[in-house]
């Protein structure tokens, strides 16, 4: 995999990330996700009503991969139902683990398919997964994240 090409995509995504960097008014879920091994730290805010994610945003700091992944995830889930978001979660985990490689199957993930190459970079998987892990816990009603450690999706 060409890492430098992957980074090109990530940089474009990050320049677009600004619109997702905000707190959410009347949020129904606010959850901080942390990667203890590197200090990446994002807070995801969601407003869910009638089973639909009406609004989502994030604050925090981290590497380019974690920030791009978070922003693209927010673009994807905003306006979708919780069930759809959970489906995206499974597809994303499958892609990052390298279990799902079929582009047709991954098509619904849209731009996020650009992170597919991370599946060959075990050291950076947790960067890409942090936001998704936090989303999963937030949708499950957790109020405290257990964080995301190496080798765990």
């Amino acid at each position: 995999m060409d890492l430098k090409a992957l980074y090109n995509q990530i940089i474009v995504e990050n320049s677009r990330a600004v619109h997702n960097r905000h707190k959410v008014e009347h949020a129904t879920a606010v959850l901080e996700g942390v990667n203890p091994s590197c200090g990446d730290d994002i807070t995801l805010e969601l407003k869910v009503s009638d089973g639909i994610i009406k609004d989502a945003g994030f604050t925090g700091t981290g590497c380019a991969i974690s920030q791009a992944s978070t922003s693209m995830m927010i673009d994807l889930i905003t306006g979708k139902t919780v069930e759809e978001a959970k489906n995206f979660l499974n597809l994303f985990y499958g892609m990052i683990k390298g279990d799902i490689t079929d582009d047709d199957q991954l098509e619904v993930l849209d731009d996020i398919v650009s992170l597919k190459g991370i599946s060959h970079m075990p050291g950076r998987v947790k960067c890409a997964v942090l936001a998704w892990h936090t989303l999963e816990e937030a949708l499950d009603g957790k109020t405290e994240s257990k964080g995301c450690s190496d080798g765990e999706l």
Partner: protein, 406 residues
């Protein structure tokens, strides 16, 4: 020193299709053939459980175990019975914390650490503090990363009973003023625990000349296998300490309700030992001695000088601690402005260059430096001027690749 690269088989492995530029030596070092062969020979020819079998093979295993101890003792200028084999520096420090700290410290006492300590020389003392009520007191370096005499005067007092410090920080790479610290410890009546994990690959550590009470290090950072570590302790201190782990081989006699313990160092070596690791460590020490410590120091100083010059010439780089090569051993930690350390490390990795990025198991120092994490480049005996050139040239491209103009 270039020729010795051939002694390290892993350095000829391609990474991402490119030659491996291994610059993460402070995390662990590669192992020379001398070490690999010694370990293999032990398991092929001499493997038995030391101190147990009455047969000839058992005697050879015992000899390998005790000969290794003698080589480590000579290396530190200590006697063999002051050397305890452990699995790593972390276990050595825990042994001191539990068998000395918990046993002999009490409420009102103070334990002095530097804020730059690795978690392995910090978390065990938090346990001791919690159990005994002794207070943790931190030394803070100045803005160049040095511990000043004023700071030592302020923190090392008549209440100080134990000082546990790394001789060289795994992030700043700067040597602490150990003579000053030991002098103050003697006046205060405190013991000194010296963590040599990051110093011993780069310099001779003479525990008698330093007059420290305990010293610890890990074999794997000294070109030896993983899973073998060393604790040095002054004999009179070890003698009065209770065991850390208990079980086989550390006993005098065992009855249903009570036991007596073996003399040191065996009192602290419960269960079957990592004799292969010990033999590998002894081989590593012999190998380094044969290269010559003056040669090692001069070679590493050349690399350090070249790397610091290269790094200071690149715009938008922040180096943590004194950027003078005379003050540094083995490591340089830095950040590229506006680029996360993990992204820097991944981009270097795509050029076959391995560096560490993260908090380096020293979160209190990260907090003190007001950063989340940093990149660390660290050198070993087999690194070359070419390695440093490739690293510097690759680093120059990082900001551009991350979309910044310069």
């Amino acid at each position: 020193m270039k020729i010795i690269r051939d002694d390290f088989p892993i350095l000829s492995v391609l990474e991402n299709g490119k030659p491996l530029i291994y610059l993460d030596n402070a995390a662990t070092t590669s192992k020379p053939l001398a070490v690999l062969n010694a370990v293999e020979t032990y398991y092929r020819m001499d493997n038995a459980n030391p101190h147990r079998g009455v047969y000839e093979l058992g005697a050879r295993a015992t000899k390998a175990h005790e000969d290794s101890r003698k080589i480590v003792g000579d290396f530190l200028n200590a006697s063999s019975d002051e050397i305890v084999f452990t699995q790593n520096a972390t276990e050595s420090l825990n042994l001191i914390a539990y068998s000395y700290g918990i046993e002999f410290l009490k409420k009102g006492d103070e334990i002095v650490l530097s804020v730059a300590e690795h978690h392995s020389n910090l978390v065990p003392w938090q346990r001791v503090s919690k159990i005994t009520g002794a207070k943790l007191v931190y030394l803070y370096p100045d803005n160049m990363g040095h511990l000043t005499e004023e700071e030592l005067d302020k923190k090392i007092t008549s209440k100080t009973r134990l000082i546990a410090v790394a001789q060289v920080s795994n992030i700043l790479g700067i040597e602490i003023p150990i003579d000053s610290i030991v002098r103050r410890a003697r006046n205060a009546g405190a013991v000194v625990v010296l963590d040599c994990a990051q110093s011993i690959p780069h310099m001779i550590v003479d525990v008698k000349a330093l007059d420290v009470d305990f010293a610890v290090f890990s074999g794997h950072k000294l070109y030896a296998p993983m899973g073998i570590g060393v604790l040095y302790g002054k004999k009179d201190l070890l003698d009065k300490m209770p065991p850390f782990l208990t079980g086989g081989d550390m006993i005098g006699s065992v009855h249903e309700q009570s036991s007596t313990y073996a003399e040191v160092p065996r009192r602290f070596e419960a269960g079957t030992r990592n004799v292969g690791g010990e033999v590998g460590l002894a081989a590593a020490i012999n190998y380094l001695n044969s290269l010559g410590w003056e040669n090692i120091k001069n070679h590493e100083k050349e690399l350090m000088t070249q790397a610091l010059k290269g790094l200071t010439d690149i715009p938008h780089i922040t180096i943590y601690g004194d950027p003078s090569p005379d003050k540094r051993h083995g490591v340089i930690s830095f950040n590229v402005e506006e680029v996360h350390p993990h992204d820097t490390a991944s981009l270097l990795d795509s050029d076959g260059i391995t560096v560490r990025a993260g908090h380096h198991c020293a979160q209190p120092l990260m907090e003190y430096l007001k950063i989340n994490s940093c990149v660390r480049v660290s050198f070993g005996i087999y690194n070359t001027k070419e390695d440093v050139d490739i690293f510097i040239n690759s680093l120059k491209n990082v900001r551009g690749l991350m979309g910044y103009g310069s």
